[in-house]
Symmetry: D3
Subunit: 115 residues, 6 copies
């Protein structure tokens, strides 16, 4: 059975390497900012991960949702906290968010099974 967490991470890492080795300065700096923006600041890391998750969910970016689900999981956020964040995303973004909610649940399950 394919492991959707590994599949996602492998493809993501492989393509990110290609993109970054290309040396386009604008893209490299955006990647850099993407790391910095989620570091501890006035807000703690957990809150920032949830902000990234909700932004990704209402913009309906499955890969971005997966990424923030994994980081949320690694940071120790509970399923209940994550689902509550996603419930706000579904309310603000409407029922078109629901298919992404299905895939988010599937990915969270895979994260829990993989541990």
């Amino acid at each position: 059975m394919p492991n959707i967490v590994e599949e996602f991470n492998d493809y993501r890492e492989r393509m990110n390497d290609k993109i970054l080795s290309d040396n386009n300065k604008v893209i490299k700096r955006i990647f850099n900012l993407d790391t910095n923006a989620y570091l501890e600041g006035a807000l703690d890391i957990k809150t920032k991960e949830l902000l990234g998750l909700v932004a990704s969910a209402v913009l309906r970016c499955d890969d971005c949702v997966k990424y923030h689900l994994e980081t949320s999981y690694r940071e120790g956020l509970t399923k209940e906290e994550v689902v509550e964040a996603l419930s706000i995303a579904t309310l603000v973004g409407g029922t078109i968010v629901i298919p992404h909610l299905r895939r988010a649940y599937e990915f969270w399950d895979a994260l829990e099974q993989q541990g």
Copy 2:
């Protein structure tokens, strides 16, 4: 050959069950509303299904399009009516709707073959 209608419905049902068993009140009520909103009212069911279909198409949500295509099919809407609704979606939403139009045609064909 995989049946795209069954595949879609199986996954949808399985994940909806997971989501609803989780007992997040906001999400459960949105699912509830999603049933109520398409019931007969000032507008008949067929019109409402087409409204749901066009909203889904311009927002480019393939799964939502599939869901409303299937309900439209079960409610007896003709292909000509459905395509006319999708033509408005393509005009309002632009050529980025076309890839979703392709998948909508494929799904409608599968609905007709399955009967």
Copy 3:
């Protein structure tokens, strides 16, 4: 007191004239299609107006909503029918549609007052 219906129509007409006098073929044809797509076909005009309204509402285009509200009003659609269509838009598109719902109510009121 400014009449928001007249203001909208005056600006729209004046700028459309400018755009069309510019003779860009692609734009002119899109304007043309925009008239043809809402003519009677497999679906009647009222249904098509509601489809245009819902597409505009979920894509959160106030001017497009106003245009379809006015045409819906002229075609004899009732407020109840229009609101029911907008309720589907709000459910599918989420609470971010609500500010547009407010402005839609205001515009419909202005249409009724103007008659």
Copy 4:
């Protein structure tokens, strides 16, 4: 000088009253959910307000941003926390979020001046 906070709240309240007095069940329930979703749960109210703010900002809904800025302000969130949340929104949503950032700063200033 017009007070942009009062203007916003007056219009919002007046039109919400109109919408709710219309008794469309789907819309009323969405308004209801919109209150419930931000109540204390697994996540505290401050975090939820920031989630609503970021969702609104990336979806570029000025009125929704204003609403959550005001609630964030009333709940005691600091400007630094709010700006950090908006910085994530700008990164995730891109430079098209910047015009909304300008208006968010203006509204926050008005909130501080009004106290």
Copy 5:
């Protein structure tokens, strides 16, 4: 008569100053990138301005469209070139782009009158 070009630039400059004086690093770097991305590179400045214009138009960000219209005007792009770029935006993004096209024409006229 209000000058829409000056009004836009004044507000934009005043609020950008506020935002940048706030010293949020992520936001400051995004502003920085926004300057660098449009500098001469593999593509010339005119082409990049048109890319920024079309991206802004399909994402329906009036302020971003105005900004790129002004830069395009200063860089010597002709109205015909700009309109052709906007025609692609209208086709790809659909008729919901039309209201933004109206405001783009109005702003371009103001740029020409101001010289």
Copy 6:
């Protein structure tokens, strides 16, 4: 190994044939415009392809991105030019564009390998 360029083109062509054989006038004319809009005019074909690419990327339409990548490749645009256009798309559209950037790189590689 599946060839993602051929797979994409085969499906696209097959479904486009189905759609066009259906004779919905609005859809047929939109398809027609989609060809005309990218012909040489005030802007040359290469510039127009990049405009189509950036519009597709910020609207996050993978199939549209693939189509314009292939046409850009056939028209002789270099990888550096294409990446520079995509860097603007990523800045304007935000980090949610990154997953589409990954798939764009993968598709461009396939185009180069196929020749």
